[in-house]
């Protein structure tokens, strides 16, 4: 069917082949037949062939080479989707021979106009690197180039490639650091995760520790309980710590991501805060982490693990949320155990009674493994908090009469550990356990009891020999571990109470001598030599008592998560508690801050970044030429032209000369989209309503020079109301818009305004690029006042960044009618450039275009409503200046010119 001429049949056949691949069956013998279809026009068929190729090309390298030329052609396709998918497949087929072709393709794609193709190029870098690590140096060049990319689409992928190929080249990040921080919010969620973890590592090497002293972090529990005064004192002692503004920027730009719906993003922000933020700021992650606990089972598992690690170091963080860690009977066992772990970590004197009550419920759980874990947890609480040791012990002793073996066994083991800490007071418990001994069958528990009796045989002199007698009877039926403990018990009793137990000990040692297990035989031999006096072993047996009955240190019950903090939170290594392949250590803070200035990007540098854009335009021009030469492709190109945003504008222009213009044109449009942030200027406030006319209500407005949030075509206006009257004004709102043709976005009504108070609201007005005033009625509950906002011509603009080249190109297009100019005489003191800049910017909301010449100043902006460009150029001469304004809207142009004239001719 693959050979068939009908496309539908081919497609059907290909679908079956993909079905085979999916099932894991070998379909490689179809390779030649499939490869033939790689040049097919049908997109779905093509995709399926790609799937097949990627799967089997590695096995059939020679045949796979047949398809390469098709991809090379597709790499030049005007449709960006086809370009991207061709690069994807080309880089995925893992045939070493084509490495140079891949390298070339990647380099070309890295300067493609479409960010989607550039993103694919970033992915291809990793693939090529895994295929041929020798290309590293060339690839790093491409990464360096792509890191400079401003598109949010590319950022995530290229950082991923960076992490894979050259994670140690931290110097590549410096210049892009601030950009990455600022873009972070808009990067797609998967990219965010990668970027955040990279920035965490970066920050650890570049900033100094925000934690006050070394070592405080380790005993942060203590620090937490320290009273505020103490803290202040310690802060005074050490040199005041000032955080690097870049460090602060990172923290600030990641904080909103805690609200992400993607759990991986939240977790990575949490680990960033954990590893980088000053201690008092870490707490903000708590709430978000607790929220994640509502998610799927697997997410819970990972999050709980991380919380477990955090809760060891900083109890205070999660204590208020303790109830969120209460166990439900429907939780999976590993989730239950983790919650238990956290509850144990969080327990302290204040909350222990609630925790213990909760534990009591868990002990009764039908899930016996969990019940056993709970008992261990109780044991840990008991050792950590000495006040409750007795209560816990009593509770555990009660559990000894439980019917379930595992519960009893676990309690015995825990009791043994607890008793070791304070044996003398609890001889009655030991007696009780000895009584229960007959009923307990779990070997570990029996062994524990035997050990206890042996260790503290002096406290229970009557019972111990009796237990030994029982053991002697059942010795051959016991498990190995019990036998070993029996031997120890016998030896200890022999030493303390040899009168009663001499014969019993002999008997047990004889039994042990012929045991099947060599451990037991060895132990028996050793003990015999040690305790039974003989001629040769006399030297040791003197010390036997000291060897066997030496006081033993109590075991320390501690969390299994104690040592996990050596790994970065949220990583695979942390989850597994062992180093995973490719794990990158988080370095310690540097003692001295490295040079901060490496991150500075000068303005000139920023401008240089536009030149690649021009370069790109050129390269795409040559692409087009390629197509116009190969005539057969033209039809397809024309078909695609309407669809493909970028291919479209190129495809429709045929002659090479026109093409260059249109390409440049588009670059300029791109430039215009780049709104720059407004320059800071002193705020001019205008009066909207005087307090006399407003009967106590005064209103002022100013133009905030920010892009309006309500609508792109609106100008945002900040209104400040103040109540100068003596009674509360209620319900201040805009009632009717009297002026026609202007769209006003009202502020939400102010419910009430107390006397002597003022409030600021923002509203949006679409002035339609005219200076006509927007009039409306401002109402309070009682009255209405007619007011109007008069826009200055300079406020109708939004600043735009562009390079000098683009500026002159644009200016060239706005000649004749669209140009208005004037000469002005200037006072000598205003000749230096700084006041001139300042004056223009104060008057109008324009962006400064960096200029090569000292006496030429250029400014660019666009009209808010129509988006038309407004270009201002000031050329200084000896005593005057030539002022030129170019814009499509001639009325605005002349008004602006007039205003600028007056402003500039005034002295500074």
């Amino acid at each position: 069917m693959l050979e068939s001429s009908k496309e539908s049949l081919k497609l059907e056949a290909m679908k079956r082949v993909v079905g085979l691949i999916a099932k894991g069956k070998n379909a490689s013998e179809l390779f030649p037949a499939v490869v033939k279809n790689v040049a097919n026009k049908n997109l779905e068929l093509k995709k399926l062939v790609y799937v097949y190729l990627v799967r089997y090309a590695e096995e059939q390298q020679d045949l796979a080479l047949l398809s390469i030329s098709t991809f090379q052609r597709a790499l030049k396709d005007p449709n960006q989707l086809i370009r991207a998918s061709a690069l994807r497949v080309l880089s995925s087929i893992r045939v070493p021979i084509i490495v140079p072709i891949m390298m070339l393709a990647i380099k070309e794609a890295a300067s493609d106009l479409s960010p989607y193709v550039r993103k694919t190029a970033a992915h291809a870098i990793q693939k090529l690197y895994s295929l041929d690590a020798d290309q590293k140096d060339h690839l790093i060049e491409v990464i360096e180039k792509l890191l400079k990319d401003k598109s949010t689409l590319v950022a995530g992928s290229v950082v991923m490639a960076f992490e894979e190929v050259c994670p140690d080249r931290i110097d590549l990040i410096h210049r892009n650091y601030r950009k990455l921080c600022n873009l972070l919010m808009d990067v797609e969620e998967w990219g965010q995760v990668v970027i955040i973890s990279m920035l965490t590592r970066y920050a650890r090497t570049q900033f100094i520790s925000p934690w006050k002293e070394d070592g405080v972090f380790e005993n942060s529990e203590k620090a937490f309980y320290e009273s505020d005064e103490e803290k202040r004192k310690s802060a005074e002692e050490t040199k005041p710590y000032a955080m690097d503004p870049d460090h602060r920027l990172l923290l600030r730009s990641t904080k909103p991501l805690l609200q992400s719906r993607n759990t991986a993003v939240v977790m990575s922000v949490a680990q960033l805060y954990w590893h980088l933020a000053p201690k008092h700021e870490v707490n903000i992650i708590t709430k978000s982490l607790v929220r994640l606990l509502r998610s799927h089972r697997e997410v819970q598992y990972i999050v709980l693990q991380n919380i477990a690690t955090m809760s060891i170091q900083r109890k205070g963080m999660f204590e208020p949320f303790m109830k969120s860690f209460y166990v439900r009977s429907t939780d999976a066992t590993h989730i239950k155990t983790l919650k238990l772990e956290i509850l144990t970590n969080l327990a302290n004197e204040a909350n222990i009674s609630t925790v213990l009550r909760e534990f009591q419920t868990y002990v009764k759980s039908q899930d016996k493994a969990f019940a056993a874990a709970t008992i261990q947890a109780i044991g840990r609480c008991a050792t950590n908090i000495s006040e409750i040791t007795d209560t816990c012990l009593n509770g555990l002793v009660l559990l000894l009469s439980n019917r379930d073996e595992t519960v009893v066994a676990e309690s015995v083991v825990v009791i043994r550990k607890l008793l070791q800490t304070q044996p003398s007071e609890h001889s009655d418990i030991i007696k009780h356990m000895a009584k229960l001994f007959d009923n307990i069958t779990v070997p570990m528990a029996r062994a524990s009891i035997l050990w206890l009796i042996g260790e503290y045989c002096e406290h229970v002199p009557k019972i111990a020999p009796d237990v030994l007698r029982k053991m002697a009877k059942t010795f051959h039926n016991e498990e190995d571990i019990v036998k070993l403990q029996t031997v120890s018990l016998a030896a200890k009793l022999y030493l303390t109470n040899s009168k009663q137990t001499k014969l019993l000990t002999q008997y047990i040692l004889n039994l042990g001598k012929y045991d099947q297990n060599y451990d037991i035989r060895d132990r028996t031999r050793f003990i015999r030599q040690l305790i039974v006096p003989s001629e040769r072993g006399g030297a040791l047996s003197k010390y036997a008592r000291r060897i066997l009955l030496a006081p033993k240190p109590a075991p320390v019950l501690q969390s299994a998560f104690k040592d996990r903090d050596r790994f970065q939170l949220g990583t695979l290594s942390h989850t597994l508690n062992s180093k995973a392949t490719g794990y990158l250590e988080l370095s310690d803070w540097p003692p001295m801050a490295p040079d901060q200035s490496v991150r500075n990007v000068e303005v000139a540098e920023a401008m240089k970044e536009w030149s690649p854009a021009v370069g790109k335009a050129k390269s795409s021009k040559s692409d087009d030429k390629f197509y116009s030469d190969s005539g057969e492709e033209e039809d397809e190109q024309a078909a695609d032209s309407g669809s493909d945003e970028e291919g479209g504008s190129e495809g429709s222009t045929r002659t090479p000369v026109c093409k260059l213009v249109s390409v440049c044109d588009r670059v300029c449009v791109c430039v215009c989209q780049q709104l720059s942030s407004p320059v800071f200027v002193p705020v001019h406030t205008y009066e909207l309503l005087h307090r006399m006319t407003g009967k106590g209500l005064a209103a002022q407005y100013h133009f905030s020079r920010q892009p309006c949030i309500y609508d792109d075509r609106m100008i945002s206006v900040q209104l400040t109301f103040s109540n100068n009257g003596d009674h509360t004004l209620e319900n201040i709102h805009i009632s009717e818009k009297t002026s026609a043709g202007q769209n006003i976005h009202c502020f939400s009504p102010i419910e009430c305004l107390e006397p002597e108070k003022s409030v600021t609201v923002s509203m949006g007005v679409d002035f339609n690029d005219s200076t006509q005033a927007a009039s409306f009625q401002l109402c309070t509950k009682a009255e209405g006042f007619n007011v109007s906002i008069q826009p200055a011509v300079g406020e109708l603009l939004l600043p735009v960044t562009m390079s000098e080249q683009d500026f002159s190109k644009e200016q060239g297009k706005l000649q004749g009618m669209n140009e208005s100019s004037a000469t002005i005489a200037m006072t000598p003191e205003s000749i230096t450039s700084q006041p001139l800049h300042r004056k223009v910017v104060n008057m109008a909301n324009v962006g400064v275009v960096p200029s090569g010449q000292n006496n030429v100043h250029r400014f660019a902006a666009k009209l808010v409503s129509s988006g038309a460009l407004v270009l201002v150029c000031v050329v200084q001469k000896d005593s005057g200046a030539q002022l030129t304004v170019n814009t499509e809207k001639t009325i605005i142009g002349s008004m602006l010119l007039r205003e600028l004239q007056t402003v500039l001719s005034q002295g500074s």
């Binding site: 539908s8 993909v18 079905g19 999916a22 099932k23 894991g24 997109l43 779905e44 068929l45 995709k47 399926l48 590695e58 449709n79 989707l81 994807r88 960010p115 989607y116 992915h123 990793q126 693939k127 895994s130 689409l153 919010m185 969620e189 998967w190 609200q259 992400s260 719906r261 759990t263 991986a264 939240v266 709430k287 978000s288 607790v290 089972r297 697997e298 598992y301 990972i302 969120s324 439900r328 009977s329 429907t330 999976a332 066992t333 039908q366 019917r403 379930d404 949220g570 990583t571 695979l572 989850t575 597994l576 392949t581 490719g582 794990y583 493909d644 945003e645 949030i709 309500y710 609508d711």
Partner: protein, 418 residues
Amino acid sequence: MIHSLFLVNATGDIFLEKHWKSAVSRSVCDYFFEAQERATEPENVPPVIPTPHHYLISVFRHRIFFVAVIQSEVPPLFVIEFLHRVVDTFQDYFGVCTEAAIKDNVVVVYELLEEMLDNGFPLATESNILKELIKPPTILRTVVNTITGSTNVGEQLPTGQLSVVPWRRTGVKYTNNEAYFDVVEEIDAIIDKSGSTVTAEIQGVIDACVKLTGMPDLTLSFMNPRLLDDVSFHPCVRFKRWEAERILSFIPPDGNFRLLSYHVSSQNLVAIPVYVKHNITFREGSSQGRFDLTLGPKQTMGKVVESVLVSSRLPRVVLNANLSPSQGTYTFDPVTKLLTWDVGKINPQKLPSLKGSMSLQAGASKPDENPTINIQFKIPQMAVSGLKVNRLDMYGEKYKPFKGIKYMTMAGKFQVRT
């Protein structure tokens, strides 16, 4: 990143595999099967399993294990979150995510997986974008495709992929413009033996179904936004605006999506809308146990508690239960020991109850724990946290949309310990 993906069904067969880098042998799953055997319940399989050369990260949903093979360090949540996104996408495309559905649509599944990951790194996971790249299968489209020979694969790069609003496609047109919002709150609670609340918290979501023409810009404001102090948003919500004004301002994706989810934590007081009176006793020695359960509403603000379902796993020694419900039906599965009682509506005048006896295994001692009772219920037209939407405004388009909002309270993980 993600190397390969294996789909394993409940009986332990691999029924689909996909590799993004060079193929990994199926035998890597043996480690997974080992872990699966060790865990008694499928839920107990650990999500992360280390093997000598790879790491397996698995997700269990719809009775299918999605096992991802990883080779090097990666945040595990990254993989888990992605796998869940895959499941969501399948569900979105095929309506259900079962083994049969995946097998029937294996080609679409393959095309989807190919688009979602490139070299193991997520490429497009937004359902709006995927749907433009690969059209979901419908009966109508299959018929049309066979006749006209057109394909399921989109020919162009989705516009959303490049724009600043990647979640919304351009050129949306509807004759009826409508925007519906559902505020759904779930109560998670543990009630102890005596009826007092051990812990209770509210998990709320606002799900939206927005079918609006063009590029509408919506704002949603609340009467009491202070309740929402712990929220997570769909990427479309403008965070700055929320921070400053506590107003949700967003350009919505087309179709169904989750606008935000929030969490009202256990520190706030939560009104528990139902109470349970229970008396479950086992007597030592006799082979009988008594079972007595009564449900009643409280603090429901006059709303009706609907679709009540009580379930409980009785101790292993219970052989059978002989009960009589005052309303609804009950079933008892003697193998899994699961008792379920479908109650329906609770009538405050005549409280539903389930009474009777249980027969126990002869000679077995009495179980030391009473079973936990899980309750499900729904209360329409009420948001238990008291959250209220103030108004919804639309900017950017001229037409007037239909707007609707619905409230609902449900039981989440609602357990009563006895």
